[in-house]
């Protein structure tokens, strides 16, 4: 049964990781505007070559190959 101490330790660790991620998400402003991102979803992926945001650069290169 001692294994429970370890398991709980792990589960708490995972939960804390999620809490930290949540903090990061809020701090980076993801909860400030809850509407516009839903519209950005509609911007087609195949047109990503037109977008110059750093996030999409890698995908762009793949498209060009």
């Amino acid at each position: 049964m001692e294994v429970i101490f370890m398991l709980i330790g792990f589960s708490l660790l995972v939960a804390i990781i999620f809490l930290v991620l949540f903090f990061w998400a809020v701090r980076s402003g993801q909860f400030d505007d809850q509407y516009t991102p839903s519209m950005r979803v509609l911007f087609d992926d195949k047109k990503s070559e037109q977008q110059q945001t750093t996030n999409n650069k890698n995908r762009d290169e793949e498209c060009h190959h």
Partner: protein
């Protein structure tokens, strides 16, 4: 990449979707309604931004009406740039612009790809709900003026108004901390519930139990500490602040409960007598914070706090002795400066017209959109909008001392405590609540002290404090009113703050503005009485009236233009201003104007022309010297006004207060009943005073208005409703914004708000019921952690469900929409 859609319509503008009426400009096999739309397309096409047209069809903004481009000279001024930007250094400039035209996915896409159009734009982000574009600009590659002019060319003109000066967009987001607090509370709540589960199954009796108990107990305390010091800090601070001012608000009993819960739990865990109530504690905070989040939900795309500075531009063009124009920011505008204004620009301060003649409309101020003619030397008041040709004016007053803007110096605007005074019912009863909770716990404690000793007495004392913590009580107001606000917004009424709803529910008097509120701004009824006109005659009348910019002519044009396809240019045309027009077409002579004008221009004697019985504006028509009939104009009432007033009159005092003359007194006397409830010729200050006097008679006043001249009355009233036909466009400072079409439901809104107050009281009773049940456990000394863990969330959740269902049910019964 550029797939031309097969469904390009032949006569709809590819850019804006407008019917191409006058002429079609073809480019790349696509039709455009005007040069502006074509230019916008060309710019986007050149930069490879034609996805814009694929995301939504015809997403563009019609550019036909923007003939005279707004001038952005002032954006060259380093000082202005500094004062409107959020941040600036040698290379970069960050600024947030308000762009009213943002309306669809394509807009967002285009504006966020702005760097394609101007490589000086480093970053552009749209907030759709706020209609805001945040820009980071490289000022070595481009200037703010360039970017703004580029935006204007493609149809997204930013609104840069006087209130933007020095108003840095606050980057501190108070909502963020609430989310974080909620996250911490939810995290602790979930984990502690898991750790507490074995206790509920009485797992601890086994040999391993004590180890687990110590381990889980320690974990629970560790997890609960951040909830106490971080998540619940707002409640503790607010309670402390209230107590130090010798007041008691609802946060006081909540804080007592919080502290009692936490310290009792720590005590139980440390001494090993029990397992504590950490799950109830964290759950309590979690639910309270959800309530707070709902409370903070506002309609942030609407502005409720606008004053005159939101309407005036940031700068105007001044003219110096040599005739050269130079932009000057409004706060530096002194009396005696010559300024030049162009079509659709606002007069920033009271001025005297130097040009020979100009047309202005006061739609911002009174809601009346018909242009008026002013002559050289006449006074033009701040807020007037120039229409037609440009004009030169000399300023007479500083901006803040002008006739209209002086209203904002009134005390109704300077002491801003209408909202500070708002308290919820829960806050008002909390002193009694706190005293009775402390009384009960002390009595119960004393009883057990004599019956079973100190330890039991303390245990019962804290148990009562814990169970009496008014969590459900604290939730009932935000949940009921939050739900009510949602229902009202579905029906076209957007309320600024949920506590204001109580003011609406207590209304005893309702005051209406006339122009633009009861009467419909756009749709003026034009009536023609006389001999029937043939098609040909209609064409001639329309052709003649199109030559004139007088408001009466414009109205006749609007009235006739629907069924007529083409018009002619008259061979000769002249206009006597304020009297009438005269036009000749190949042998047909059209004469429209006053009786006197007709008799002067034609052979008709003045007695041939009947005096109209109608008391509004009229224009008489003669063709080829023969009297045919009369056009009469009156502002149409909005739909359902008659029924609305009928239903309101039985329970409220109703008043009409207008800045206009008495020409419509008869008509409104029928609607309002008593003659003394009709007030005409009132200045903005007089409107404010009238509301003030009503309030001195202990009336709770709801004011419904739409123009800037109602701003004082709206501010002074207990519940000021600004009526707006386009809710994202301008409206004066107010407590709620109402869509024009929803005015007829006003009575329903008031009755709904009254019902909501009853729902709040009912949910109080419900939560008190839970408290009583809990108290019976607590006083008898049987409050186990399990009972607390069930009872506390149950009471919160049932209050949430109860308020949600009853508000929707009531709204449905009153005939309000409850779903989208």
């Amino acid at each position: 990449m550029k797939e031309v859609k097969s469904t390009i319509s032949r006569d709809l503008c590819y850019h804006c979707g407008e019917q191409c009426e006058e002429s079609i400009i073809m480019l790349d096999d696509k039709p455009f309604c005007c040069a502006g739309c074509k230019t916008a397309y060309q710019i986007l096409d050149k930069s490879g931004l034609c996805n814009y047209y694929d995301l939504e069809s015809h997403p563009g903004i019609n550019l036909k009406s923007t003939k005279s481009r707004a001038r952005f000279d002032y954006l060259e001024d380093q000082e202005v740039i500094e004062r409107i930007s959020d941040f600036q250094n040698n290379q970069q400039l960050s600024v947030t612009l308000y762009i009213p035209n943002i309306h669809c996915t394509s807009c967002v896409w285009l504006l966020e790809n702005l760097q394609k159009l101007d490589d000086g734009v480093l970053q552009s982000t749209v907030n759709f709900m706020r209609h805001e574009l945040s820009l980071l600009v490289d000022i070595e590659k481009t200037s703010l003026r360039n970017v703004v002019e580029q935006l204007t060319t493609i149809g997204y003109e930013p609104e840069i108004r006087l209130d933007k000066l020095d108003a840095k967009t606050s980057k501190s987001h108070q909502n963020r901390s609430l989310w974080l607090k909620l996250g911490v509370a939810g995290f602790a709540f979930g984990n502690i519930m898991l750790f507490s589960f074995p206790d509920y199954l009485d797992f601890s009796s086994g040999g391993m139990g004590t180890h687990f108990q110590v381990f889980f107990g320690a974990l629970n305390i560790i997890l609960a500490v951040p909830v106490l010091v971080y998540s619940s800090s707002d409640y503790l601070k607010s309670a402390f602040a209230a107590l130090s001012q010798r007041g008691v608000n609802l946060d006081v009993p909540i804080s007592i409960g919080i502290v009692a819960l936490f310290s009792r739990s720590v005590y139980e865990i440390v001494t090993g007598v029990g397992t504590g109530y950490m799950d109830s504690f964290t759950g309590l905070i979690f639910f309270l914070l959800i309530g707070k989040l709902i409370q903070q939900k506002t309609f942030n795309r609407l502005s409720f706090d606008r004053d005159y500075r939101s309407y005036l531009p940031i700068a105007v063009n001044s003219v110096d002795a040599s005739g050269a124009e130079k932009s000057i920011s409004l706060d530096k505008l002194k009396p005696g400066i010559e300024i030049r204004l162009r079509n659709q620009e606002l007069v920033p301060c009271d001025s005297i017209l130097l040009s020979e003649k100009a047309f202005v409309d006061y739609s911002f101020i009174t809601g009346e959109s018909d242009p008026q003619e002013v002559n050289q030397g006449d006074h033009v008041y701040a807020g007037a909008r120039l229409t037609g040709t440009s004009a030169t004016l000399r300023t007479e007053e500083e901006v803040e001392n002008s006739y209209l803007t002086k209203l904002w110096n009134h005390e109704a605007f300077t002491n801003n405590d209408k909202e500070l005074k708002l308290t919820s019912f829960a806050d008002r009863i909390s002193p009694y609540f706190t005293v009775s909770v402390l009384g009960i716990s002390a009595l119960a404690g004393m009883y057990w002290l004599s019956a079973a000793g100190m330890e039991m007495a303390l245990s019962v004392f804290t148990a009562v404090l814990i169970i009496a913590c008014p969590c459900a009580l604290a939730l009932s107001t935000p949940f009921t009113l939050g739900s009510a606000l949602n229902v009202l917004s579905l029906n076209g009424l957007f309320v600024k703050n949920h506590l204001l709803l109580e003011n609406l529910s207590k209304a005893t008097s309702i005051v209406f503005d006339k122009t633009g509120t009861l009467t419909n701004k756009q749709d003026k009824n034009v009536q023609y009485i006389g001999e029937k006109l043939s098609e040909e005659q209609k064409i001639l009348i329309l052709s003649a009236c199109q030559q004139s910019i007088h408001p009466v002519s414009r109205k006749i044009v609007e009235h006739l233009v629907d069924d007529i396809e083409h018009t002619f240019r008259p061979d000769s045309f002249y206009e006597v201003s304020g009297k009438g027009i005269f036009a000749a077409f190949e042998g047909n002579l059209i004469c429209i104007g006053s009786r006197q004008f007709l008799s002067e221009q034609t052979n008709l004697s003045i007695s041939d022309i009947p005096v109209s019985e109608f008391d509004g504006t009229t224009a008489h028509l003669a063709i080829n010297g023969e009297y045919l009939g009369t056009f009469s104009f009156k502002a149409g009432l909005r739909d359902g006004i008659g029924n609305l007033l009928q239903s309101l009159k039985s329970s409220f005092k109703t008043f009409l207060i207008s800045g206009d003359n008495e020409s419509q007194r008869e008509e409104f006397a029928g609607l309002f009943g008593m003659d003394e409830s009709l007030l005409f010729n009132n200045s903005p200050e007089e409107k404010l005073e009238f509301i003030n006097n009503l309030q001195k008679d202990n009336q709770k006043v709801v004011m419904v208005g739409d123009g800037l001249n109602d701003a004082g009355a709206l501010k002074q009233s207990d519940f000021g409703i600004a009526l707006s036909d386009d809710i994202s466009s301008f409206s004066p400072a107010c407590d709620a914004i109402l869509e024009g079409d929803s005015l007829q439901d006003l009575n329903k809104f008031i009755r709904f708000s009254q019902a909501c107050m009853k729902i709040i009281i009912a949910s109080f009773v419900l939560s008190l019921l839970y408290n009583t049940i809990g108290l019976s456990f607590a006083i008898s000394g049987h409050l186990s952690p399990l009972v607390a863990a069930i009872l506390m969330p149950l009471s919160s959740v049932s209050v949430m469900v109860f308020t949600f269902l009853t508000t929707r049910y009531t709204a449905n019964k009153l005939g309000l929409a409850i779903w989208k």
